[in-house]
């Protein structure tokens, strides 16, 4: 029983980590209908940039002779992500307005390649242990009193994700920009006709997605070091997306939790019978089975088709 509880809880925590990545996807898809394959690489890129800002021997250290404290490093990386968002809008998306969704999807794959190569050239491709002071190891009192093993890092991730979702919800519901974002998500043309600038909205959305990517990058980087495989977590976030629905922020969170728990349970209880290592595809099959019954995902908008 204890083992089951531990499995479920660690699944939930892993799910939160997936949800953090999925959140960035949802934001961009909602506001621009772009399926952004580069989200995973954006996480990697943000984590690499942060690492370089705050560690000795990094980029700041080499060029200016000092490196930033952690909080300033995070702010600087946010700046980098905002500049990146602006560049993406200015040099890529602006020229691709009104193209088919598949063309935009392809462009984001091109972007993923570009960021991957650029990240390797600028920051090097070795594994970097990112330590920004998030506590590591098990939560002591739970381990001592109940024998439950839960990583502190995962609790921090869960709290961060909750805060992030609340902040995003307030941003979307209460602010002027947030309202404009929702208007664009509803209908591009109608939004344009009431005077919302699509270009600036896209910059805002990609910046927000970039900052979410930074958060995800920090969490994953603290967990397993900043390395190339970080960009592959995008592939982990995809089943979360289709399970929760492409257009729903709560869907991303709940989808993440379901996938996380399902994956852990399957790994523990089914994995040994089929030779293990099923976590690569189990999430996809779970999501696929689910989709057959509910094609738009858990919280996706109902697909209404007219001829």
């Amino acid at each position: 029983m204890l083992f089951l509880a531990e499995t479920v809880i660690s699944g939930l925590m892993a799910g939160v980590m997936y949800a953090l990545v999925a959140l960035g996807f949802v934001l961009i898809f909602k506001a621009s209908g772009i399926f952004n394959f580069a989200q995973g690489v954006m996480c990697l890129f943000a984590a690499l940039a942060l690492f370089d800002f705050i560690s000795p021997g990094g980029f700041m250290d080499r060029w200016f002779g000092f490196y930033l404290p952690i909080w300033l490093g995070v702010i600087a990386t946010m700046g980098v992500m905002i500049i990146l968002a602006w560049m993406i809008e200015r040099f890529v998306l602006r020229f691709l307005v009104n193209q088919d969704a598949i063309i935009l999807f392809m462009a984001t794959i091109g972007l993923a390649y570009f960021l991957e190569g650029a990240g390797d050239i600028m920051f090097g491709s070795d594994v970097k242990p990112l330590d920004i002071g998030i506590p590591q190891g098990a939560v002591d009192f739970l381990l001592d009193d109940y024998g439950l093993y839960i990583e502190k890092l995962e609790i921090v991730a869960a709290v961060t994700a909750t805060v992030l979702v609340i902040v995003l919800a307030i941003f979307f519901q209460k602010t002027r920009v947030g309202r404009a974002l929702r208007a664009v998500a509803d209908d591009h043309q109608a939004a344009l006709s009431v005077g919302i600038s699509l270009h600036s909205i896209w910059v805002v959305v990609w910046s927000v997605a970039g900052i979410v990517a930074l958060v995800a990058g920090i969490m994953w980087g603290s967990k397993s070091g900043v390395q190339f495989s970080l960009s592959l977590i995008a592939l982990k976030a995809l089943p979360v997306l289709i399970l929760g629905g492409f257009t729903s922020v709560p869907g991303a969170i709940i989808g993440g939790l379901i996938i996380g728990v399902g994956e852990k349970l399957a790994e523990v209880y089914v994995g040994p019978f089929v030779g293990g290592a099923i976590e690569n595809w189990f999430a996809y099959v779970l999501a696929l089975v689910f989709l057959v019954f509910r094609p738009q995902g858990l919280f996706g908008e109902k697909i209404i088709e007219r001829v």
Binding site: F35, V92, F95, L96, Q99, D100, A101, I102, I103, F105, M106, A107, I109, G110, L111, A112, Y113, F114, L115, E116, G117, A118, D120, I121, S125, L235, L238, P239, L241, I242, F246, V274, G275, G276, A277, I278, N280, W281, Y284, V285, A287, L288, L291, V292, P295, Q296, G297, E305, V307
Partner: protein
């Protein structure tokens, strides 16, 4: 001046329905075919075969397959690498179980087996569409690669987990294995690509292809005018997987000779073929060839240019290459989102009026 169809009258339905109705096009294609069949085999060596011609032909075949599914039928698929793996492993099992079997038959059977797997993974397409389907096809990619990695029966329990092609001889010529002559390998692949290119072109412009295109443009409307989505979609999955399976089979047996599933058939393979299809032009058979040529040649040219021309270190050059790949894909999509096939179309339109465009 030279490219003008004035004076070419069509006096029968047959000439009217020809694949290349304009005489100049026809002669151009004949010339290319003649060069491909009668000139290239005499000059081809190992480097040219393994680095350029075999990848080009095999990727063109795979791209035709994906183009049928994505370009004609509108079902976005990211499982191409997995389906190629099915073709390759089917070939391997057939080769080792029935060493006397005709190699062409083995490849066709591998295609058939892949088609059945394709239908299986195509079933969700009846319920879901768009990017939801794309992500669902990733399930095929990961599951198949995992399956071939884990189940020893597929690789005959070999210690390395690799599969390697056995020696295959047809008409006295050795086709697979390291001693096979590059010209023989080339002609073997060329034969497949030409025959199935012709078949693809004819399926695509016939009744079945039109049904696919109707589904692509709007599936509900297509259903209303009497096209069965079940037949059309699963048919597209079957034919597409058949092509992809054959290309996977040639890829493993003729080109590589030995393969390891995670490396050779990973997700990057799926993306590469999707790139070929999109850069070549969605929904065109010609585009599959042009896109394949581009994606095979460009990395080689980039690498040669950077390593030999600018003497950049090979490791750095690899990163720069990835970066430039991404950049070129984006630039290409911006300049011509409909791919090389559209560029070719535009060139022909311009040529018609040249040199007096006004």
């Amino acid at each position: 001046m030279f490219y003008r169809e004035s004076g070419q009258f069509k006096t029968s339905y047959q000439t009217d329905q020809a694949i290349f109705p304009i005489a100049q096009d026809r002669w151009f294609v004949y010339a290319i075919l003649a060069i491909a069949v009668f000139v290239v085999p005499f000059y081809i060596d190992d480097y040219w075969a393994n680095a350029i011609f075999l990848p080009f032909l095999i990727y063109a075949l795979a791209a035709m397959g994906l183009n049928i599914l994505t370009g004609y039928c509108g079902q976005l698929s990211l499982g191409t690498g997995g389906f190629m793996a099915v073709g390759a492993y089917a070939t391997y099992k057939l080769m080792t179980m029935f060493p006397e079997m005709n190699f062409i038959l083995i490849i066709l059977l591998s295609g058939g087996i892949t088609a059945m797997v394709g239908i299986l993974f195509g079933i969700p397409s009846l319920r879901i569409k768009g990017f939801y389907l794309a992500v669902a096809t990733l399930a095929a990619q990961f599951f198949l690669v995992w399956l071939f990695n884990k189940v020893g029966w597929f690789y005959n329990y070999s210690a390395s987990g690799q599969i390697s092609a056995t020696r295959m001889v047809m008409f006295g010529f050795q086709i697979t294995g390291p001693e096979a002559a590059p010209a023989v390998k080339y002609l073997f692949c060329l034969g497949f690509v030409l025959v199935f290119g012709l078949i693809a072109k004819n399926i695509a412009r016939g009744r079945i292809g039109r049904a696919w295109m109707a589904i692509r443009d709007m599936d509900i409307a297509a259903e209303i005018i009497g096209i069965k989505p079940l037949d059309a979609k699963l048919g597209a999955f079957a034919v597409s997987s058949f092509y992809i399976g054959m290309s996977g089979s040639l890829y493993f047996a003729v080109w590589l000779g030995a393969a390891e599933v995670g490396e050779a058939f990973g997700i990057s393979q799926s993306f590469l073929i999707l790139f070929i299809v999109i850069i070549g032009g969605l929904g065109t058979v010609l585009g599959s060839f042009l896109g394949a040529a581009f994606m095979v040649l460009m990395p080689i040219l980039l690498k040669n240019f950077m390593v030999d021309g600018l003497s950049i270190m090979a490791v750095t050059a690899k990163h720069v290459e990835i970066m430039l790949m991404g950049t070129m894909i984006i630039i290409f999509l911006i300049v011509e989102p409909h791919g090389f096939a559209r560029l070719w179309q535009i060139t022909k339109e311009k040529l018609r009026l040249w040199p007096f465009p006004h």
